[in-house]
């Protein structure tokens, strides 16, 4: 009895055995609910599965159909437009806000705390607030602009295709800027102040300090932050679902909302899964571009001065 107890104990003290044992709970959940569905999703994209009916393999039929489908093409364009415009503006505004917060300010910790609020509250709920702000009849923005004499009639923010695209992008930027700003601020705080002192003594202007000290040292963290930001934006779902459900005239449908509409509302699981699968190469490309593209600039930073 005693010897078997010690044998078990010794066995449990073997770090390889114990390691696998500790990994088991996380592993079971992730394999069952992440790895398996990921494979299943790819498979479904090649079948004609409907809700309540297992599909048969149909090869590339779904992808061929989607390629010829005007709505899918529009959704692809919308997704790219949404991602590129929102990400660029989020980066610019986020970096600016981070630089402002990095200044010697009173109540700095307080400012930093409230700046992050848009990021931590449920997006679906803040989107409801934007829905009200963008209301065609009672929009506060239209009210203010009309009082200032800028516009004559109320703007139909969510009823016109281009207005709706820009309005959803604005809401996305509102939610994303705090994330970019706070993470870049953390990066800024790791830059030693002595660089700035040295640069000032050498007569560098504030712009030169930013361009030749801040930016190169911040590049690695910018790469990571923007990779995440692009990833979140490209796969965005809830903001669009709440604000427009893809309308008007599918002008704001993103690939995620379209795949939801086709698979869950429409019941065509196979088609929806094919749209979701079609997002993967774009995601990988976005990650590669933003990650490696910016990484390379970090490597070159030593010689790119002249």
């Amino acid at each position: 009895m005693a010897s078997s107890g010690t044998a078990t104990e010794r066995w449990l003290d073997n770090r390889h055995v114990l390691g696998l044992l500790f990994l088991l709970p996380a592993g079971v959940i992730l394999v069952l609910f992440l790895t398996y569905p990921l494979g299943l999703g790819t498979w479904l994209g090649f079948t004609d599965a409907k809700i309540g009916r297992d599909g048969a393999f149909v090869g590339l039929d779904n992808f061929e159909f989607l390629w010829g489908d005007a709505v899918t093409r529009l959704a692809l364009f919308n997704t790219l437009f949404y991602t590129v415009v929102a990400s660029v503006i989020k980066f610019a505004l986020g970096l600016w806000l981070a630089l402002l917060l990095n200044k010697h300010l009173p109540f700095k910790a307080f400012f930093r705390a409230i700046v992050l609020l848009p990021f931590i509250v449920p997006t679906a709920l803040s989107a409801i607030a934007f829905w009200w702000i963008f209301d065609s009849q009672f929009s506060i923005i239209s009210w203010a602009l009309q009082r200032m004499g800028v516009i004559q009639t109320y703007i139909d923010f969510l009823g016109d295709p281009w207005n709706a695209r820009l309005a959803t992008i604005a809401a996305n930027i509102w939610r994303g800027v705090p994330f970019v700003a706070i993470t870049l601020l953390a990066g800024l705080q790791t830059i030693s102040p002595s660089y700035y002192e040295a640069a000032s003594l050498d007569g560098a202007t504030p712009w030169q300090q930013f361009r030749y000290v801040t930016l190169p040292l911040l590049t690695p963290i910018i790469a990571v932050v923007m990779t995440f930001s692009v990833l979140f934006t490209f796969t965005d779902f809830q903001l669009i679902y709440v604000l427009t459900r893809g309308g008007p005239l599918n002008a704001t449908h993103l690939m995620a909302t379209l795949s939801f509409q086709r698979a869950i509302s429409g019941g065509n699981l196979g088609e929806g899964a094919a749209i979701a699968t079609a997002m993967v190469p774009f995601l990988l490309a976005a990650i590669m571009v933003s990650y490696f593209g910016l990484q390379r600039r970090a490597w070159q930073q030593g010689g790119s001065d002249k």
Binding site: F22, F111, F138, P193, Y196
Partner: protein, 299 residues
């Protein structure tokens, strides 16, 4: 711990030696710093103010273009009253709370064990498992929800709270494990070696030495996981269909919007009330939250 300490330690240093900022005159500082910062804060906070104002406005003020819309003349609790006593809002709050707490506890337990195994036990292949965890973190829910819906259906979990409790860990475990790996890394190996020499088992080391030292990391991971679960939308929208099991974000969007007449007052009250729990939790643990956010990005 590490991340929280570095930010705390560096702030004063940065503050009193930041370049030659004292040379910048006050008027210039107002234009280049305070005005833009004020504009940022105004835009970032306005939607919350607007939610609050709308919540307490009577309908006739909401639907009028006259007067000053930025203020409430006759505040009313009618919308809040309607929300709390004429809809299932309290049930939705309870569902969200229950699901978020259970999913967080489950994920945190799995993550502590996994992170300790990967970072400290260094078993065969632990590096690859660490990489796999990071990749799992990059998988977005919006490409996973369709196949996951069929899995949930096959397991007969459709339209139950358990469906959400079991699927939320798919994004919580990778995140928490990644974060905790960073914290475990900062704990000196010597502590463990001493304990091993004194005859402690691996389990005792984990419970009595590593976990107490990793409490700040666990708080960060826990706060973050709770917030992510509370805010989750697409799984809750897809895997649940009855009103009784819905969570707040989904219920406000799908249940409170009836037909063409929007009850803006109760909608905003629902949005405000649903945001409050995370906002309050966040206000108590700002440092932990920020260190979790930046720690996860930095690693």
């Amino acid at each position: 711990m590490k991340a929280a300490e570095t930010t705390a330690a560096e702030t004063p240093e940065v503050a009193d030696t930041q370049g030659m900022n004292y040379l910048v005159s006050l008027p210039r500082r107002i234009v280049t710093v305070y005005v833009p910062l004020g504009a940022f804060l105004l835009v970032l906070l306005f939607p919350f103010y607007w939610m609050g104002v709308t919540t307490f406005k009577p309908n006739e003020e909401l639907l009028s273009r006259e007067g000053n819309p930025f203020w409430v003349k006759n505040p009313t609790l009618a919308h809040v009253n309607k929300l709390l006593f004429e809809t299932s809002y309290p049930d939705w709050l309870w569902n969200t709370m229950l699901i978020a707490v259970v999913a967080t506890v489950l994920s945190l337990t799995c993550s502590v064990l996994a992170a300790y195994a990967i970072e400290r036990l260094r078993f065969h292949g632990s590096r690859y498992v660490g990489m796999a965890i990071f990749l799992a973190y990059l998988v977005p829910p919006s490409i996973l929800f369709i196949p996951l819906a069929t899995v949930v259906y096959k397991l007969q979990l459709f339209d139950t709270r358990l469906a959400l409790i079991l699927t939320y860990p798919t994004f919580l475990i990778p995140f928490c494990t990644w974060l905790l790996m960073g914290y475990f890394k900062s704990i000196p190996f010597e502590l463990e070696e001493c304990a091993l020499i004194d005859g402690a088992s691996r389990w005792q080391i984990l419970v009595k030495i590593i976990l107490p030292l990793a409490v700040p990391g666990m708080i960060s991971a826990g706060i973050f996981a709770f917030t992510l679960s509370w805010n989750e939308f697409i799984y809750a929208l897809t895997f649940v269909s009855s009103s009784e099991v819905k969570t707040v974000p989904v219920a406000v969007v799908t249940e409170l919007v009836e037909g063409d007449v929007y009850h803006w007052g109760s909608l905003m009250a629902g949005a405000l009330l649903g945001s409050l729990p995370v906002a309050v939790l966040y206000s108590f643990f700002v440092e932990y939250y920020v260190s979790g956010l930046t720690g996860a990005v930095k690693e």
